[in-house]
């Protein structure tokens, strides 16, 4: 409350701190007894109420008209100097453009992830619809199946009904497909710089195989109904389609430097007086002098 007040009172003799007081614990105990009395005995509540009144009065007298203080003698006059065993900073020549760089230095921009995700989503949709036409004779079959993952109406469709158009299922499937594709695309964008070699192999083939294998083993238990209706070969093929296309698109984008040294307000292009200190050149940030 009165931090300025307290800080300004810090003189050579001591520091002013709020005085310890028994009234908060009294008030809390009174409140507990007030409640406890409801299920034990009214006398307990009465005692609780009395303690609460006493607690309130005592507390008010602690802060009104003036907050009660104690002066704590202050023995440490000088702040403890900060020390480190690693005073030497080793300089790596990683990013000559920057005076200083935090790893990772470059990454794919968010837009690369979005583009990759969208491209992958198209590839996957084409493969899925192809599966519908070739194997099931209807483009709606995979769409209805996808929406059944969260939209509970779709899960009740029979085999024939799965092959016809349902607007609700279609909308839900589109939302799932787009969101998931975008998210996986962003994941790629975030992960690819950390993968040292062969990003397409890992992102496009190994990851889909692992993921499909996990789903294949688990779905029989998790959702046997859905499990029966999935053609796993085509499932894996469409995952590959997504992984390879998204991976290719992402890795074709130019990497950008992480904007690590630039304040958020500057990056966002907003002027926030007060939120950041104004600085001219590389001079010391405060003129009131550092200790």
């Amino acid at each position: 409350m009165s931090n300025e007040h307290r800080a300004s009172n810090a003189d050579r003799n001591g520091i002013v701190m709020p005085q310890p007081t028994a009234w908060p614990i009294t008030l809390a105990f009174g409140f507990m007894l007030l409640m406890a009395g409801l299920v034990t005995n009214a006398a307990v509540s009465v005692l609780g109420a009395i303690l609460m009144v006493a607690g309130c009065v005592g507390w008010f007298r602690d802060v009104l008209p003036h907050e009660k203080h104690v002066v704590i003698p202050c023995e440490i006059v000088e702040a403890v100097p900060a020390q480190t065993q690693r005073a030497q900073v080793k300089v790596f020549d990683l990013a000559p453009e920057h005076a200083r760089a935090f790893l990772p230095i470059t990454y794919y921009p968010i837009s690369a992830g979005i583009k990759g995700g969208l491209a992958g989503s198209v590839a996957m949709a084409v493969l899925a619809v192809a599966y519908g036409v070739i194997k099931q004779g209807s483009i709606w079959y995979p769409i209805n199946l996808l929406s059944a993952a969260i939209y509970s109406q779709s899960i009740q469709f029979g085999t024939e009904s799965l092959k016809t158009f349902h607007l609700n299922s279609f909308l839900v499937a589109c939302v799932i497909h787009l969101i998931t594709s975008l998210l996986v695309g962003l994941l790629y964008g975030a992960m690819l710089p950390m993968i040292p070699r062969r990003p397409i192999l890992l992102g496009g083939i190994i990851a889909p195989i692992l993921w499909s294998g996990l789903l294949y083993t688990a779905l029989g238990i998790i959702n046997p109904l859905l499990d029966k209706k999935i053609d796993w070969l085509w499932f894996v093929i469409s995952q590959f389609g997504f992984g390879i296309v998204a991976g290719l698109v992402v890795s074709r984008q130019d990497k950008v430097f992480t904007q690590q040294n630039i304040p958020f307000a500057l990056r966002a292009g907003i002027e926030v007086p007060g939120a950041m200190r104004e600085r001219i050149g590389g001079s010391s940030p405060d003129e009131d002098g550092r200790r």
């Binding site: 409140f31 299920v39 000088e78």
Partner: protein, 557 residues
């Protein structure tokens, strides 16, 4: 200096009698002592809640077992859940927040020191009131009984018909009392962070732990209020015939579910967000790199804070909402995964290329990252409505949320203990015992909670008292129970480590981890006034600036 002020100096404490010292703790308004009391209180209840869990695991280790009676079993799972959430996890977060936030933001106390003491005592007395039910549950006239309605206390179990005596009342009254304490501390935390930061500490130079605490405190205000309101409604139902949740008289049992879960889901994030704070302080220091993507971390935290208020009905997919309702909550639930995933990437980005030091706090943080990821994935699985229909109310759900709470929150808290114990006590925790604790706990955790998913998938319902042999559940339950014992031993080692190190540990000095935030500029333990001179900061790593005057951060931030 008068003799009265001398008596308050930290050196004089040693010569005080026990009664004087207890009086000192009871009347203190010092945020550090209140923080320590919060933490100590939570640790006591961690052991109590742990014993309740062990009792359940012994009961379930064998089919057709009758280690305890069904009535006692019901009390155990109710009190275990309630205790661990309200009297362990929340107080421990408030304790660390109380202790470290004023130090981190460079001030001498919380904004409202007396409210701080009041809030702690409310939480403590609320817990005592609830545990008093073990003797007073039938109103002191009978054998006594604790609440047995489950930690989410669905209506109509709490009605007079199904819950005679006072056990449910102790549950709701205890939570009302401690709930007011949570609200008080949250108001205090928000005010402290908004109003008491030291000169130069703009919002974008504030340590992430403070950011996480302000978001968490804001959430507490909006989440605890509906819970407290619902507890008052139960009491009105039980004693004044209000019929809020009485379906026979036009009330609705489902409305209780809504009230409870609009608190219950954000509560998970109330606990995990400060855990994110622990990780965000520990990971950079032990990777010897600043946090990667600070503004994105802040943005993701705030986004989680908002989104997590829109997902509560994913706990209620089986009550029969229509398809659009289910779909809405499925999508919002998956949406929380986005900012959470961003955070995981930022921590990985922080570790990536760093000079990693595998000290105990870092080990717990790394395990956190891995386990929290898996917990998130099973969460995404459960958010899919048809999947949820199969497994709602099964041990799969129990395994999932223990993965979040133990694998995520508790690991982060242990990391926080090893990280800040030197600051709090001035002594280092033993690294050897710490590593033993870590590995035993990791083994126990994975034995228990990895294998707990399987009986869930095989159809074992939660809260079941016992089960028939021959369903294929026995072996998994035995493994789960063995894991619980490992965890129990690990926690005992941890407790021993804290006691032993307090007396025999190495001296910590001001800054044992070569860290960068303000709490390490002052002595360990800090003096009552924290800082003799209020510090001025120029970057989000003020100690780096002091240690490396030739290459300070403020040039680049």
């Amino acid at each position: 200096m008068s003799s009265e002020t001398m008596a308050l100096s930290p050196h004089a404490v040693e010569t005080q009698s026990l009664a004087e010292r207890l009086h000192g703790w009871a009347t203190t308004v010092d945020h550090k002592r209140i923080g320590v009391m919060y933490i100590g209180f939570a640790l006591i209840f961690l052991v109590i809640g742990g014993i309740e869990a062990i009792i359940m695991r012994i009961q379930l280790a064998l089919p057709n077992n009758d280690f305890v009676s069904p009535q006692v079993f019901n009390r155990m799972f109710t009190m275990h859940g309630t205790t661990m959430i309200f009297f362990v996890a929340m107080p421990i977060m408030f304790g660390f927040g109380n202790y470290t936030v004023p130090l981190l933001v460079g001030t001498r106390d919380m904004a409202f020191p007396r409210l701080n003491a009041f809030s702690f005592w409310l939480t403590a007395f609320g817990a005592l009131l609830m545990y008093f039910s073990f003797v007073g549950g039938f109103g002191l006239y009978g054998a006594g009984s604790a609440p047995d309605v489950g930690w989410f206390a669905y209506a109509p179990l709490t009605s007079k018909v199904f819950s005679p005596g006072h056990s449910s009342d102790f549950w709701s009254l205890g939570l009302i009392v401690s709930g007011f304490g949570s609200i008080g501390t949250s108001v205090n935390m928000i005010t402290t962070i908004v109003c008491s930061r030291c000169p130069g500490m703009t919002l974008n130079k504030m340590p992430l732990f403070a950011w996480m605490n302000i978001v968490m405190s804001g959430m507490v205000l909006f989440a605890i209020s509906p819970l407290t309101a619902a507890q008052i409604m139960i009491s009105l139902d039980r004693y004044l015939g209000a019929h809020f949740f009485d379906t026979q008289a036009g009330g609705s049992a489902v409305i209780w579910m809504h009230f409870f879960w609009i608190f219950g889901h954000p509560e998970v994030y109330i606990l995990i967000i400060p855990s994110f704070g622990f990780i965000s302080e520990i990971v950079p220091v032990f990777s010897r790199k600043p946090i990667f993507g600070y503004p994105i971390m802040v943005g993701a935290t705030v986004a989680i804070g908002f989104i997590s208020f829109s997902v509560w009905a994913h706990h209620m997919f089986t009550v029969g909402m229509n398809s659009w309702g289910n779909t809405f909550f499925a999508i919002t639930t998956m949406a929380v995964g986005v900012p959470t995933g961003i955070k995981i990437f930022n921590w990985l980005g922080t570790i990536w290329g760093g000079k990693i030091q595998f000290k105990t706090p870092m080990l717990f943080s790394l395990a956190f990252l891995f386990q929290f990821l898996i917990a998130g994935l099973t969460g995404i699985m459960l958010s899919s409505t048809p999947f949820n229909w199969q497994l709602s109310g099964s041990y799969f759900v129990v395994a999932h949320f223990h993965y979040v709470i133990v694998g995520g929150i508790l690991f982060a808290v242990f990391g926080g203990f090893y990280y800040w114990y030197p600051k709090i006590t001035g002594k280092m925790l033993s690294e050897r015992l710490g590593k033993l604790h870590f590995w035993l706990f990791v083994i126990g955790f994975h034995l228990t909670f990895d294998f707990m998913h399987i009986p869930g998938l095989l159809g074992m319902p939660r809260r079941i008292y016992t089960y028939e042999a021959g369903r294929g559940w026995e072996i998994w339950n035995q493994i789960v129970s063995v894991g619980a014992l490992f965890q129990g031993v690990a926690v005992l080692i941890f407790v021993f480590n804290m006691i032993w190190s307090y007396w025999k540990g190495k001296d910590a000095g001001c800054d044992p981890w070569d860290a960068w935030t303000l709490e390490w500029t002052t002595t360990s333990p800090p003096p009552e006034y924290n800082f003799a001179t209020i510090p001025t900061v120029h970057s989000s790593r003020p100690l780096w600036d002091l240690k490396h005057p030739e290459d300070p951060d403020w040039k680049y931030e």
